[in-house]
């Protein structure tokens, strides 16, 4: 039996003004999974990611993560979460240092990750000298440099060109192991189709489905995630 990585018990998140982000969510996500979180705009994908990351507190219920160290969670935000005062290299190195790497190891890991995302030649630039897609790549490299057991990715491929997206899928597929779990919230169903093993479908703050990709497609008599998403949405 696979070990549970993330557990949500009766989690509700209500924002100011009474807007419901997530309602009474119960969820158990085991390790060795790549979970695609899908849903329409405002369905609660980002809220779910933020609750798991611990940057939003649930209004009620609890979120538990089975990790050995507090730094075993890495998060790529939907927004440009980056230190504009630091070079690309230092931003990526922050991820390695957050993951517990020594100063010398952090240099090695950062070079490796920058190579992976194709930004080694721009390592000394400041983030405001990069394009939106390149900033996204820095964020992904930083999260990967952390070498965390739980990887939360919120719209990771927004702004990425097709080559970078393919590289990203390869890297994510390599990352998933017995000891890791990856959650990707995205509207890019093509990317999810290729990378995820399970699908979590959200609708207006409710978890409507959490099953393997094959089961999800079968439930909606679909061949692709795109078809299944439209069927579920309608």
């Amino acid at each position: 039996m696979k070990q549970t990585a993330i557990q949500l018990n009766q989690v509700t998140k209500t924002y100011k003004g009474g807007i419901q982000g997530l309602q009474c969510a119960n969820l158990e996500i085991p390790y060795n999974q790549c979970v695609g979180i899908i849903g329409a705009n405002g369905a609660g994908k980002t809220t779910l990611i933020h609750l798991i990351a611990g940057v939003l507190r649930p209004s009620s219920g609890s979120v538990k993560k089975t990790i050995c160290k507090p730094n075993d969670l890495a998060w790529v935000s939907q927004t440009q979460t980056i230190d504009w005062f630091l070079s690309v290299f230092d931003n990526v190195r922050l991820g390695a240092r957050l993951g517990g790497a020594s100063i010398s190891d952090s240099y090695e890991v950062s070079y490796e990750m920058l190579e992976e995302v194709g930004l080694l030649s721009k390592k000394m630039l400041l983030p405001d000298q990069l394009s939106g897609g390149e900033i996204r790549r820095v964020q992904i490299a930083r999260a990967l440099a952390q070498k965390a057991k739980i990887l939360l990715l919120d719209e990771p491929t927004v702004g990425l060109d097709p080559v970078a997206s393919e590289r990203f899928i390869d890297k994510i597929t390599q990352t998933v192991s017995e000891e890791t779990v990856v959650l990707i919230a995205s509207h890019d169903l093509h990317i999810l189709e290729k990378s995820v093993s399970s699908v979590l479908y959200l609708n207006e703050g409710h978890i409507e489905a959490f099953q393997t990709k094959e089961e999800f497609l079968k439930n909606f008599s679909s061949h692709t995630l795109r078809e299944a998403f439209f069927a579920a949405h309608n």
């Binding site: 807007i19 611990g54 507190r57 504009w84 240092r97």
Partner: protein, 261 residues
């Protein structure tokens, strides 16, 4: 909730704050060297003539330069406060605070790491000005300097936590800049930095009593001139504890990010 300091996390935050400040070397030079020395040589040098180089404070007689030196150092708190407001705003605005805490940096280590850089700046400012102060004829003792440094570090701690607290209310950089423009000059001019408040206009004395910076200047002067801790020091200590508790509470309980659904 129990809080413990994680030395690795504190060191990491400190390391990155240092990197950020070293990135802008011109600003660093201005903070640690040019500004304190400009105050000491240019402003104090000019005011010395006006005061007749003689001040009475706490019933004792002092050279003007000796009287004003702790005030000049206290002024640097406001410079480090501005720096902290900038750094906390960036950390919040761009979700870096949330990222660091989500990645395992605990709240207390984060705060201590963020405080460490302005504290180091203050110590460096003091060390740089000391030989110049001696050159100008400031009379000082080792004990006085030690107590002054200790109190100064506590004051920097308070101002940094204050920066952490107020940046939570800024929605954008314009609000931040507006706040700093409105707050810094009145804080400076209504505190007894360059003169003794008992000789100032009555309305200024009243405003001065409402200014927290006044108490810090008095505490610094008391430490430097009389080698002792004043009542202001203990007030500062209580403020520091209260500010730390409230900052830890807000980081531990509140949302770290404004999220869309």
């Amino acid at each position: 909730m129990q809080h413990t300091i994680n030395p690795y996390a504190t060191k990491l935050i400190f390391e990155y704050e240092l990197r950020a400040i070293f990135r802008d070397r011109g600003n660093l030079l201005r903070i640690i060297c040019i500004e304190p020395l400009a105050y000491l040589f240019l402003l104090v040098g000019g005011l010395k003539g006006l005061s007749g180089n003689h001040m009475v404070w706490g019933g004792e007689h002092f050279d003007y330069i000796t009287f004003v030196y702790p005030g000049v150092l206290a002024l640097q708190f406001l410079r480090t406060f501005t720096h902290s407001v900038y750094r906390f705003t960036i950390d919040r605005r761009w979700g870096l605070q949330a990222l660091k805490i989500a990645s395992g940096i605990d709240s207390l280590s984060y705060i201590i790491g963020m405080v460490a850089t302005p504290t180091a700046l203050f110590v460096i400012q003091t060390v740089i000005t000391l030989p110049f102060a001696l050159l100008l004829g400031v009379q000082m003792s080792f004990v006085g300097i030690f107590i002054l440094l200790f109190q100064g570090m506590l004051a920097v701690f308070c101002w940094t936590l204050m920066a952490a607290a107020i940046t939570a209310f800024f929605k954008n950089y314009t609000q931040r800049d507006l706040f700093l423009s409105f707050i810094l000059l009145p804080l400076t001019f209504t505190a007894p930095v360059f003169y003794s408040m008992d000789k100032a206009a009555f309305y200024l004395q009243i405003i001065s009593k409402l200014n927290p910076f006044s108490y810090q200047v008095i505490a610094m002067r008391q430490a430097f001139l009389f080698e002792s801790f004043s009542f202001s020091f203990f007030t500062m200590l209580v403020c520091a504890v209260l500010l730390l508790c409230s900052t830890l509470y807000s980081l531990g309980k509140g949302d770290l990010i404004n999220s869309e659904v």
